[in-house]
């Protein structure tokens, strides 16, 4: 059973990340997941200082709040004209540094790094069951991520057209009266929620990887946003399943293998995509030069 739940968890993370990642890639903000994975440090330190415990409930709460602060600040700076990558860089490094400072001032003797208190391990999701009235109803991570996925699908589904226009052409969107800034904030809020709850369940590398790699792969395969989201979901789910079995064969880290499989799929798409692939482009180039010579 543990294998099954691991793959379900992986697929849920892949789905949450796959949908949001497509919009992030279009907005050239794909690294925001990585940024959140670092910037939540002050959140867990403050949560520890306030609660005096390293219980995951407090850690998750602290991380979630600082996660929202992170994306809010990134979006705020970007709205005010700072470059997207620069605003990500500024916000996450400053917040991470603030976390390091807080640890060295208040809790240098306590083991408080993100790996130890926040990041979960996908291999063990099976044992962290949610209990309702003393009955086990499936792993906590599956519930947490399932609810997150539901919210993402609901919000994106309801305002799909608006999100699409904001991602492709914010100027046009603003011109026809869509509150672009608001939709940017909502999208980033969803990203923060998805990444923080995934960190807690499965650790950082899987989330950051699945937020970028499957959407980037899908981007090579199609020019339509709807298809891109669909492909990115499929690629993410395949990565989690194939990654799990790879990990079983190699006896290696499961999250690591899942992201590696996603990387391999990206490479394949990069080389052999029918529309944007390296091989196809080279062939086309040769054909056209041959035609010219003819």
């Amino acid at each position: 059973m543990s294998g099954f739940w691991i793959m379900v968890t992986g697929a849920l993370v892949a789905s949450c990340c796959g949908i949001l990642g497509c919009f992030l890639i279009l907005r050239r903000m794909a690294l925001v997941g990585d940024a959140i994975s670092h910037s939540v440090l002050p959140g867990i330190v403050i949560a520890f200082l306030v609660s005096g415990s390293r219980d995951s409930v407090f850690m998750l709460f602290g991380a979630a709040i600082i996660g929202f602060v992170t994306v809010f600040l990134i979006q705020l700076f970007q709205n005010s004209g700072v470059q997207g990558d620069a605003s990500i860089g500024v916000v996450f490094t400053s917040l991470f540094a603030a976390g390091v400072l807080l640890i060295s001032l208040n809790a240098s003797q306590v083991d408080l790094d993100l790996d130890c208190v926040l990041y979960g391990e996908i291999a063990y999701v099976h044992w962290n069951q949610l209990m309702i009235n003393g009955v086990e109803v499936g792993p906590k991570a599956v519930w947490l991520l399932g609810i997150t996925l539901f919210l993402i699908v609901a919000v994106i589904g309801l305002f799909y057209k608006q999100f699409k226009l904001c991602a492709f052409d914010p100027a046009l969107a603003a011109a026809i009266g869509i509150p672009v800034a608001l939709f940017h904030y909502v999208l980033m809020g969803l990203v923060s929620m998805a990444t923080v709850s995934s960190f807690e369940s499965v650790g950082a590398i899987l989330v950051v990887g699945l937020l970028i790699v499957p959407p980037a792969t899908a981007y090579l395969l199609t020019d339509r946003l709807g298809t891109m989201i669909g492909l990115s979901l499929v690629i993410g789910v395949i990565s989690s399943i194939a990654g799990y079995y790879t990990a079983a064969v190699l006896d290696a880290s499961i999250a690591g293998c899942m992201v590696c499989v996603a990387g391999v799929l990206f490479l394949l798409a990069f080389l052999f995509s029918p529309s944007h692939g390296l091989v196809v482009r080279k062939l086309r180039q040769r054909a056209s030069t041959a035609r010219e010579a003819y």
């Binding site: 294998g3 099954f4 240098s108 003797q109 083991d111 130890c116 391990e121 669909g230 499929v234 399943i241």
Partner: protein, 315 residues
């Protein structure tokens, strides 16, 4: 246009159904390998090598012990591999350090305790003997006070006896013998450390894993880093440490097997500039033991190695 979209959505749905279907089937077959090889023995999984070693000593031929974290693996930086699932799943008993040594995994162990025998080996150590590092939070590196590790040994013995009462007498006898050896080890450490002149009895390491060691054997422990391997260290720590080394004429500093050497080398360089030579006193084992099959690959050998290295360098 609309129809095209609907049919592609349908296709996507089919792909997803197919994928979940195959997954379920494959997961049912299971790609797991056996974590334990010998039938008829009590299967025990331990998180760190020190616990695995004691469990093997007490259990003898009656138990098969596997460790999650191998030699040289820092528990703070441990990453689970797929095979570790089977190690935990197939074990009849799981032994872990507790006191948040295993980080977030601690919560998993607490959950698992409802279904199988999962024991924190430090659970019977009285709270006043633990080093409090912040309100309600304790230093988990108890194994460097051999007395406290004797308590852990007793906890392991009791757990084995309860799980496998038929062989209880054997576990009791083996534990008795092993506790005797630990008592000797404790005395050895006390005697040896006492031969270092009081003024130079300072051990500087890059990792604060030796707090219990310092308390138990009367040697001052100065760490460059906080308890967490991942914490950064401030430059004030580096200069403060350098001045202390020069002032007290401390002859050596220690680098451990699981911490990068770079941080401590910065301090040595600083002391040299002030005209005081400090050696690297040799490697101490902190969070992990040496390779299996060597003397340092056992708990007793590891503590002896540390004591001898410290005494040899500082005396």
């Amino acid at each position: 246009m609309k129809r095209g979209k609907a049919s592609s959505l349908k296709r996507l749905l089919w792909v997803l159904i197919f994928l979940t279907g195959t997954t379920t089937i494959l997961a049912g077959c299971g790609a797991s390998r056996d974590a334990f090889k010998e039938e008829g023995k009590l299967h025990v999984t331990a998180t760190i090598g020190m616990i695995a070693d004691v469990a093997q000593e007490v259990g003898g031929d009656r138990v098969e012990v596997v460790g999650l974290m191998g030699p040289g693996v820092d528990p703070h930086l441990y990453k689970a591999s797929q095979g570790d699932i089977a190690k935990l799943e197939d074990a009849a008993m799981i032994l872990y350090g507790g006191l948040h040594l295993e980080g977030k995994m601690t919560e998993i162990f607490e959950k698992m305790a409802k279904k199988k025998t999962v024991v924190a080996v430090t659970k019977n150590i009285p709270e006043r003997q633990l080093r409090e590092v912040a309100a309600g939070t304790h230093d988990p590196h108890v194994w460097f006070n051999v007395r406290l590790w004797m308590s852990a040994t007793e906890t392991i013995r009791d757990a084995l006896v309860e799980k496998d009462p038929d062989n209880g007498a054997e576990y009791e006898a083996r534990a008795e013998a092993y506790l005797g050896k630990l008592e000797e080890l404790d005395q050895y450490a006390k005697d040896q450390i006492a031969t270092i002149p009081k003024q130079g009895r300072v051990m500087v390491t890059a990792h604060d894993a030796f707090g219990y060691f310092g308390d138990a054997y009367d040697i001052e422990v100065v760490g460059l880093q906080g308890i967490s391997t991942a914490a950064e260290y401030g430059s004030k720590d580096v200069t403060g440490l350098r001045d202390m080394l020069v002032e007290r004429g401390v002859k050596a500093v220690f680098v451990e097997s699981s911490v990068p050497k770079k941080s401590i080398e910065a301090v040595i360089e600083g002391a040299k500039k002030q005209g005081h030579d400090v050696k690297i006193g040799g490697e101490l084992f902190s969070d992990a033991m040496g390779k299996a099959g060597t003397a340092e690959g056992t708990y007793i050998g590891m503590v002896k190695h540390n004591v001898d290295t410290i005494v040899g360098a500082l005396k």
